[in-house]
Symmetry: C2
Amino acid sequence: MSEPRKLEVLRAIVEDYVHSREPVGSKALVERHHLGVSSATIRNDMALLEEEGLIAAPHTSAGRIPTDKGYRLFVDRISEVKPLSAAERRAIHSLLEGPDDVEDILERTVRLLSQLTNQVAVVQYPHLSRARVRHIEFVLLAPRQVLVVLIADSGKVEQGVVHAATDATDEELMALRARFLGSIAGSQLDLMPQVLPSVVALCPPTLRNLAGALAHGLERLAERSRDERMVMAGTANLARSNVDFPLSIGPVLEALEEQVVMLRLLSDMAEDPRGVTVSIGRENPYDGLSEASVVATGYGPGSSAKIGILGPTRMDYPNTMAAVRAVARYLSRILGG
Amino acid sequence: MSEPRKLEVLRAIVEDYVHSREPVGSKALVERHHLGVSSATIRNDMALLEEEGLIAAPHTSAGRIPTDKGYRLFVDRISEVKPLSAAERRAIHSLLEGPDDVEDILERTVRLLSQLTNQVAVVQYPHLSRARVRHIEFVLLAPRQVLVVLIADSGKVEQGVVHAATDATDEELMALRARFLGSIAGSQLDLMPQVLPSVVALCPPTLRNLAGALAHGLERLAERSRDERMVMAGTANLARSNVDFPLSIGPVLEALEEQVVMLRLLSDMAEDPRGVTVSIGRENPYDGLSEASVVATGYGPGSSAKIGILGPTRMDYPNTMAAVRAVARYLSRILGG
DNA sequence: TGTTAGCACTTGGGCATGTTGAGTGCTAAT
DNA sequence: ATTAGCACTCAACATGCCCAAGTGCTAACA
């Protein structure tokens, strides 16, 4: 038996199954794809593929379905990332034009990606650990409530409320703001924990308490901006593409709502030399996603932040991978410039 | 025939159907609810209720199901908003404790409400038109890119990027910031369009251009914070509560993603004297929600912003309404104080 | 007049049974 | 190594049957 043909058969099965949603049998296979052999031969090949765990039959007398392992092989060795259609390229161009602030861009991007792939799209906020402090602002909301705002030179703004143990005045806050700003302006966000304590220590005793609270607030903000967040779009696609029930969407919606889960998932995906990483079905660390695949890639400086999509294992990998890669590139270009 | 009993029958039908998900028949009804009459009598009443369009039979020989109109009557005249259970009260207390900034609070609130009701919860950002300018900040991101930050005394922080026609320097920005701040600090957000032009007019000609761009950015931010946004949680409940398919969740997810739709929906809901407003099935202006109900109420100053839930028409209205009302009250209290 | 008992009637759901067709695995021939 | 042929399996579909739940109606009743 010929090894290359076996792979060809696998590819055919995957491709057919992906857009028919039905188990594909030997006969249908020889008809649609002009492999130069008879269905009996295909049957033999399929038996082997099944032995290797690449495909499986839902029941005795049905066609075969690719297994997770089968998709994996398909993605790794068979499929070629297709170039995007002209229409798709145009869509990317026009939709990502007119950049605004980071949030806007990410929101549009993720919407675009979800439309392009008909899946749920997810994008992680860019990492900002290397960003530097640009400004800070203390705003008195109530006598013991202070709004702390941290502006990074990356354009990211973080805010949070700090509760003081004693009443604070505007003047005190002004003074403290000047002190803090003098010491930390321009320093990296992830160095804050090292720098802040010394500032507090130098404060006059009467202010020490308040300063401590504020410093703590600033640390939290710095951490939060290093700490990750995400935007998503296209959840309705989950319901659409699964008119039947191959993917029970409940657990997937849960995973998406538990942003922490998704963020870990994205972060943990190793960078793939081919540009996009794919995690298929049970390969996913999260149980609820055992029938789903994630296609993701990095973007931006150092490809540190991730963008990707989430969909049923039965998806059009080549096109999806192409879309993810293309969108990530455009995004990198826009943010980078 | 007795009018009050007819209503009692409707109530019984609604209550039974809501938690059994199955059409309820005359016999089952007399068994579970000790109405003092026989099933035959109930049958007569049911025939009348059906004539009035309050209930309907899915097929000849099945029990009856409440119609939208039936739910409406139930909500308006029959049901009493049940008090929350002690456990629920405790949950509200503990989860909404430790207030942070507005975003945090809203996020926790909406999560809480979705858990309490097992539905999708939605909350609109509070209206801030009456808020005043506390601080502004211009940050140079690139020679022609300026990050504009607007901090309101309500604790809301808005940010956006402005593109300048010519290169700007830090010094220029500092100067402009001082000018702007001098004129608009303390003035209401919705007065910005009136105030800003005069500031620009007073700028030296060399800065006029840049000032114009910044003023425009500030206006946009002020508008955006008046302009509405929302947070939601619990989309996974859609899949859960509809294990079968009474509610096709696709269109609902779409509606939720089109935030504009949801926001209009919420805004358009008239304030109800009883505290919560309910919009049932086809009463909803949006087609995708023809099998869903919205239970919402206002919160915060003037009850101007809305909070509510979205679920299948077949939902436990009394409890849901109670939860929405209770959460809205707590939220008002927290934000108000 | 409102209530009730009784009864004929309708109908979806469950079940057993039969049939069909797609698909497989195996064997023997090429 | 490939192929034709064939026996076999099994989900999906159809058919027929019965049952239970539920209805509407009528006639008797308080």
